[in-house]
Symmetry: D2
Subunit: 283 residues, 4 copies
């Protein structure tokens, strides 16, 4: 199965859907999925369209060129993807390995449409897991002093390995603005609270101390501002006065795994559009 | 705001979306919502498209005629609705009035895009509520003996009042096959269990006796087979060994209200397509 | 059914449960409910015990005196309630009446074990609802200038009517510190967000702008610090990019109703203990 | 930490709680948890009491003898456990290994208070996982013909290894009545549907075909009647018309893992009492 996917954003006006679907149809494409959304507040049109390339009359490499006039006419932002060109993701991890383990098991079960060639960590805790799954493991000890130089090495490594997607699987180091800006809307983080509540350090203790009756986890794209990027997915679970901080942690860990897995899956399937620090998710 | 809405079902093949969106665009319509879904198992295409009639070049009464050739080409089922022609709904109720009250309050808050000219009951319990909201109340005492003749009167009344949608708000009488078949996919029922578990009588006691840890409510279109029609919406809530049957009832009542309200709202907004005893809900 | 209820808090040590249950048993009381909890962090013991007075050997008015030595021995805080002495609640409301309506319907359905003799508002919107349910309605127009003098009148009225519990049913005025401190842990508010996220004004718009994927509602005891009191109950529901602020409002309204109803019910059944700005809820 | 735990069931009458808590107190025990519940329908009293043995005046082996007169007086069923005598669990698995993997990861994270000395399977699929976690793996090929003789071998092995708890982690073989009856309330199964809906084979397809909007998973004690034993825990998640059977399976797998983990944890912590084919869970 080899499909083309367009993720379109542009000012809304008459004729966009007709123009896009005609382009596919007149070139003998078969639309498999088409979703659209109009944000009334900003008058913005969003579309995700996926069609089979089998029988499509335009060669893969010529599609962008042929679609370009339509894109110009409507002032579109329009990344084009092919389902057989797999994203290449690196996982960053620190001392907590439950999310990493969960991601790798799902990866093995073919839940993620990507390649995961490497894992990067500031610690050695997860090395045996990487070994177990046959994935390269790179350890970069980071301190506040060597952060810049280490990040340079990480960026070089990511470039060398052709990485386009970064998954922060409970990575406990804050990435620099420079690092984050190199991967716009391509670094997916899991934060162990229901954002915007309990951003920053130790959200389990923050939740415990505030006495909330429900806790949550949030997956979002990383931006230079900590825990403030576009939210992709959240989920919650009920707690009570009987739950200690350790219980909160245990319950949260289950949320973290499923929330990050859903977010990553949507990202890899090209189902997410970002605008105004928010996401449209065509699930 | 005056929109046209098409709910399309047909065998899937190339060009359907392009044909439909072209029809709208070339006649100067502005698409406000477009959703589609392909059921891979049965190769069936589903679409809901809604466009503004303001500026549309085809007169309202001519739209069906002009669209007809496209519909024929693709062998479509294609009900056409206009958002300013409000559905006319009758609510059927018996002794439990919590759902009725909830519906009427939402109706007053403009949550339902319809007219509710009458309430029908086999009892007098809800008459004061109908009076309070200024809605006509008809009481038809039913027994197993007079069921046929009473249903005839009800059908005549519904026809006279121009009713196209029937809401069974905890109506405790079983409608005859003849009655149900006159309103295909237009009778919306709320059943106080998580179907298909606990169909039939007294689902609260059934759930209590089985010792489930979660209860639910289900809204579905009525079909001649009891509690077996296409499911529109469901929701659940957690219970424990501490909950008596009365607690289950109280918790369930909250579910019944929101589940029926969501289902009715989607129905009135023409967001539901039925096939194979299942629903596609374009919410 | 006439029961006594003790809500006990004290430092944890050996023998508390035995002392309390012996007191009940040796005086021929039948325990109907007993729950306890130890907060390990602060070494605090919490207990709720409810027993039938039918056959109990100590006269109702003598119970406190007889229990007092036990309470002293363990340095207990120990409010004593009788299930047949109904709390008397006043509802405060402003322009949004959905929560008020919901409360009154549940009150009529006997879901709340209390008397509701009056409704207080800064507006006239809800007067017809109060009339409809046969409850006195008092309107106190408030401005920043007359706030103190108006609150004095309200406090006098509440005293005159014997009110011990205040329910803020989307009351949009901020009560003064003086007012709040007169009703410690006896003013129950509903805030239309998942606190601590989106405290303060217009949480619907705050949630919409932040792009969260789940919204919530929170019921808490009012304290002088706005939206920061002990949380009693919360619930959440899923939203998506398709939901406008109006949709958020509509969905939130359903949460607000059930969350406040649960919190009020627990409060009236004497199931809540407050400590450290948190709640123990023995549901 | 070494605690004693009593799980008491008996007809309700005056004085049970006082008798039990006095027993602990007068022998210098410190109660850490005490929960009780009265089932009003059957007038049955349930209690879970846990106290520290540190400083307790009765020797561990003498506790049962000393408590026996109280138990007799109230006609109690009263299993006594010690928190440092770990249950020994065997996991049964077939071809689907996601639940097994999840259990073993939680086991390694110390979420389960037990020993897991062996895994039994009718297939070889999970052998490498068992090896990876350093747990013995026994493969017993089963057919309808050799079932009895194979079960005999399994029972002998379980006896030899001192197993008292069996976890069916998506084990796809039906155990005989004889086998099940040897482990009353000690075989924990996970069924991949919201029971009682979709018992038996292929619940994913059953749910898909019925068109439900929510799916679930159920953990229960196995009884000779298939999928009909006392329910310990359930959870649900929302699906839509967009979800294929494969999507249902993927979503269900996440439910299966958390639901079984919760049920097993409660079982191992001696928090579950069974009566009338239902469970009281003191979580």
């Amino acid at each position: 199965m080899n499909n083309a996917i367009l993720l379109i954003s542009c000012p809304d006006r008459r004729g966009i859907t007709a123009a896009v679907t005609n382009f596919v149809y007149q070139n003998n494409g078969n639309i498999e999925h088409a979703d659209q959304h109009i944000d009334a507040q900003t008058n913005t049109f969003f579309m995700r369209i996926e069609w089979a390339l089998d029988g499509f009359r335009i060669a893969r490499d010529a599609i962008a060129g042929k679609f370009s006039p339509i894109a110009k006419k409507f002032t579109m932002t329009w990344p084009l993807y092919f389902s057989d060109r797999l994203p290449r993701a690196a996982i960053f991890v620190s001392g907590h390995t439950h999310v990493l383990y969960d991601l790798l098991l799902r990866y093995k079960e073919k839940q993620f449409n990507c390649e995961i060639p490497l894992i990067i960590s500031n610690r050695s805790d997860a090395r045996h897991i990487a070994d177990n799954f046959g994935i390269e493991y790179y350890e970069f000890a980071k301190t506040s002093k060597n952060k810049n130089s280490v990040e340079k090495k990480e960026i070089a490594l990511l470039a060398q390995k052709g990485i386009d997607t970064i998954v922060l699987a409970r990575y406990m180091q804050i990435l620099s603005k420079n690092f984050v800006n190199r991967f716009p809307d391509r670094i997916i983080n899991i934060h162990h609270s229901f954002l915007p509540a309990f951003a920053g350090a130790n959200p389990y203790a923050q939740a415990y101390n505030r006495g909330v009756k429900i806790i949550g986890a949030t997956s979002h794209y990383a931006t230079p501002k900590l825990d403030a990027g576009p939210i992709i997915e959240q989920d919650t679970c009920r707690i009570s006065h009987r739950d200690s901080i350790d219980d909160l942690k245990r319950k949260s860990m289950d949320l973290e795994k499923v929330v990050l897995a859903r977010a990553l899956r949507w990202h890899l399937e090209r189902k997410i559009l970002v605008y105004n620090n928010k996401t449209v998710v065509f699930d």
